[in-house]
Symmetry: C2
Subunit: 435 residues, 2 copies
C-alpha cells in the first residue's frame, strides 16, 4: 500500500483500501509513520468518513482532523450517532471542537452539547441521545406499527424502552420478543426480567461493571428526576472495559498513560515522573542499607545476599497486589470477606516464607563459610514475605478507601515496603547474630 502512496497512484490506493472495514483503515493509519500518513491523506482524504475518525486513537485523530478539508470533516461527522460525535470531539482542542460542532444540524448540535455538559468519564458522555420508547400500555402490534412508521430509528437499538407519561423508564422489551410475540400481547408482559437504569452522572467504570455483572445489552440513562435522557449500548460498555483494562495494566507498571503511537519525547515525559518516584523510594531503601555500612564492611557476603531478600519480598507483594487490584475492580473484595482475605494472605505469606527460608538457608549455608548466615537469611525471608503479604493487600485497600484507584499502588510503592523491610531485617539480624 505504501508503494501506491509513493507512486501517488490514487486508483490503486482506492482499490486497496475500498474493501477494508473502517476499524482496519484506522489501524493502518496508526501504524504508518507521520510523513507517510500525511502523504496518504493528501491522496485519499475524500474517503475518510466519520467511522474511521471514531476508530483512530486520540493523538492520530487530532493530526488527521487538522489535515482534512473542512467539507470532508463536516460530511464525516454528520453521519454519526450523537454518542460517537461526543466521543470524537471530547478530547479535541477547542478550535477543532468548534469546527465540528458547526458542521452539525442544530438538533444534533444541541444533543452533543448537552452530552458534553456531563462530567468526563460519566454515563452522560457515553450514552447516545437517540432512544426508542413506547408507552407502557401499548401492545406489540402498536409498537410494531410505530416502528414501521418511524421516519428515523437509531443505527443500533436492541430494546424498546417502556416509559410512563413523565418519560421515566419502566422496563425493556427486547426486539426478539417483540418479533415473536402475538400482536395483541401487552408489551409489559414480555418485558425483560432484568432491568437496570443508569444515572447520567454515574462513572463509566460503574457502567462497565453493571453491563458485565448483569449481562446487559443496553440500559436506559436517566437524569436526577429519573427521566430518560439516553441509552448506553453494550459496545460502548465493552470499550470502557477495555480502556479500564489498559489503565490498570499501565498504572500497575507505573506508566500514567501511553500508546504505541506516541513518539519518544512523549514517552520519555510519561515515564519520567514514575521513575522519579521510584528513585526517591530506592534512595530510601539505600538509606536503610547505609545504616548498616559497618556490618557490611565486616561481612561482604551480606551485600551479595541482601538483594535476594528484597527481590523475593517485592515479587510476593506484586503477586498479592495484582490479585487485590483485580478483586477490587470486580467488586469481589468487599467488607464481608476482607478479613478472610487478609488472614489468607498472611497465612500464604508465612507459608511461602518458611519454605523459601529453608531453601535459601540451605543455599547460603553451603555458599558461604559462615553457617549462621543461612539462619539469618531464612529469618529475614519469613519476615519480608509476611510484610509483602500485608503490603500487597493493605496498600491497594487503603487507596480504594481513600477514593483513589487501587492500581496506583504500582510496583514502586509496594516494593518500597519490601525493600525497606527486607534490607532492615536481613542486615539488622546479621548485625545481631553474626557480629
Amino acid at each position: 500500500m505504501l508503494d501506491a502512496v509513493e507512486a501517488k497512484d490514487t486508483e490503486r490506493l482506492n482499490a486497496l483500501l475500498e474493501p477494508l472495514y473502517s476499524a482496519d483503515i484506522a489501524d493502518l493509519l496508526e501504524q504508518i509513520s507521520a510523513p507517510e500518513r500525511r502523504e496518504l491523506l493528501r491522496l485519499w482524504s475524500r474517503e475518510i468518513d466519520g467511522e474511521i475518525l471514531s476508530e483512530l486513537s486520540e493523538g492520530i485523530r487530532e493530526e488527521v482532523i487538522e489535515q482534512l478539508p473542512p467539507e470532508v470533516l463536516s460530511e464525516a461527522v454528520r453521519e454519526l450517532d450523537s454518542d460517537d460525535v461526543v466521543d470524537l470531539i471530547e478530547d479535541l482542542e477547542e478550535p477543532h471542537q468548534e469546527a465540528i460542532l458547526e458542521a452539525l444540524d442544530v438538533a444534533d448540535r444541541v444533543a452533543v452539547e448537552q452530552s458534553l455538559a456531563y462530567p468526563d468519564y460519566s454515563a452522560g458522555r457515553l450514552m447516545q441521545r437517540e432512544t426508542v420508547v413506547a408507552p407502557e400500555h401499548w401492545t406489540v402490534g402498536e409498537a410494531i406499527d410505530y416502528l414501521r412508521g418511524a421516519e428515523w430509528l437509531p443505527d443500533q437499538f436492541y430494546h424498546v424502552i417502556l416509559v410512563d407519561p413523565r418519560m421515566r423508564p419502566l422496563a425493556n422489551v427486547t426486539l426478539g420478543r417483540i418479533l415473536s410475540a402475538k400482536r395483541s400481547t401487552k408489551m409489559r408482559d414480555i418485558a425483560e426480567e432484568i432491568f437496570r437504569t443508569i444515572r447520567a452522572t454515574e462513572s463509566e467504570t460503574e457502567v462497565a461493571y453493571l453491563f458485565n455483572q448483569y449481562h446487559l445489552i443496553s440500559a436506559p440513562v436517566v437524569d436526577d428526576a429519573d427521566r430518560l435522557v439516553g441509552v448506553i449500548t453494550i459496545d460502548d460498555a465493552m470499550n470502557v472495559l477495555d480502556e479500564e483494562h489498559e489503565e490498570d495494566i499501565l498504572r500497575l507498571a507505573g506508566v500514567g498513560e501511553g500508546s504505541i503511537t506516541d513518539n519518544w519525547i512523549e514517552v520519555t515525559k510519561q515515564r519520567f515522573p514514575w521513575l522519579f518516584v521510584n528513585l526517591l523510594t530506592a534512595i530510601l531503601a539505600s538509606g536503610v542499607i547505609s545504616i548498616f555500612e559497618g556490618t557490611i564492611s565486616k561481612i561482604v557476603a551480606l551485600a551479595v545476599l541482601m538483594p535476594i531478600v528484597a527481590s523475593q519480598g517485592g515479587n510476593a507483594a506484586t503477586q498479592g497486589l495484582a490479585v487485590a487490584v483485580r478483586a477490587l475492580a470486580t467488586k469481589s473484595l468487599t467488607r464481608s470477606n476482607v478479613l478472610r482475605v487478609i488472614r489468607r494472605e498472611i497465612a500464604q505469606g508465612v507459608a511461602n516464607g518458611v519454605m523459601f527460608a529453608l531453601v535459601m538457608g540451605v543455599i547460603a549455608f553451603f555458599w558461604f563459610d559462615r553457617p549462621m548466615i543461612g539462619v539469618v537469611i531464612g529469618m529475614a525471608m519469613i519476615i519480608n514475605l509476611f510484610a509483602a503479604a500485608l503490603a500487597g493487600l493493605l496498600i491497594p485497600l487503603g487507596l480504594e478507601k481513600m477514593g483513589f484507584d487501587p492500581a496506583l499502588a504500582s510496583g514502586a510503592f509496594v516494593t518500597t515496603v519490601t525493600d525497606v523491610v527486607g534490607f532492615f531485617s536481613f542486615l539488622g539480624l546479621a548485625g545481631l547474630i553474626l557480629l
Copy 2:
C-alpha cells in the same frame, strides 16, 4: 442475611434473596465462608437455578453442585441455552459432568456434547447452537411471519442470519432493521455492511479481539466447510475480554491464576512456583555481585548504591513491558511499526537514562566523599536504562514470536536482565574507575 441463616429462618431468607438478581446471589455465595455457604444451601437449595450456577466462579460452583439435590440440579440446567451449559460443565470433574448431561433432553445433550468436542478456549466452546436463520431470498414479511410462527426462539438473538441452501452464512440482518423495514423489502437489501464469520476452532482470544475491533453484536460460527454451526453473542465476547484482562494482570505479576475465593493452601501453591523462579533469577544477580566482593569490601558505599541502579532499571523495564504487552494484545504492535517502536524505546531509555544519571550523579557526589562515585553511578544508570528499554520490548516480542503469551514476560524475567546489567555495569565501572 447471615442472621437469617443462623436463625434457620427460611422465610426471612427468601424475602431477602428473592428480589436479588442471579449475579448478585452468586456474588453473595462467593463472599461468605464455606461453612456459612453450606448452611445457606441447606436452607435454600431449592431456589438455586441455572443462572446462579452460571455466575459462580469455578471452585465455588463445584462445591455448590455437590450439595444440590439431583432434581434441583437437573431442573436448573434444563433452563439454560447450550453455551451456558457448556460453560457450566466444562471445568467440572467427570462425575459431575455426567450427572448434568444426563439431566438434559437428548437434543440438548447432543448439542452440548458437540460443543464440548471443540478444543478448550475455542469459539466452538463459546457459541450457542441455537441460531435464527432465513434463506437469502426472503423478504422482511416472510421473515416476520416465520419468527412469529416459530415454536421456540433463543433467549438472546440480535440478528437473523441469511444462509444459502447449504447453510453457509451470507449476511446478518439486525432485528431493528427488520422491524422498521417494509414487508416487501428483500432481507438481503437491509443486511449489515459489516459481516464476519468465525471458525469454530478459532481461539476465544481472537473472538474477543474481533468483537472489540469491529463492534460486533453477534457473529455466526462456521465449521471447516463454512457451514453455520452456531452463533456467538457480544456478552460472551465481553466475558472473554474480561478474563483475558485478568490473565494479563495476573501473569504480568507472576501469578499463574488466582481468585479471591481460593483458600490459603491453594494460594500458597499458586504463588510458590513463580517465587521459586524469581529466587533463581535473584541468585543469578547475586552471583554477579559476588564477582565484585573485593571491590565492595574496599568501597562499602557501592553496596549502598547498587540497589538504586537495579531498581531504576527494573522499573523502566516494567513500564516498557506493560506498554508492549498491551499493544500486542490489541494487535497495534505489528511488523509495520515494530522498528519504529524499538527506536522509540531506545531513545526514551537513553533520554531518561541521561536525566537520572545527572540527578543521581549529583546526589551521590554530595552523599559520599568520593566524587567519582557520582560519575560511576551516572554511567551505570544510562547503561541500565538502555538495557531496560530493550528488555521490556524484546522479551515480550520474542515470546509472542515463539507462540507464548507475551504477558509471561512477567516482572521476574525482565528484571533479571536489569538486575544483572545494573550490578555488573555499576560494580564493574567502580572497579575500573575508583580503584
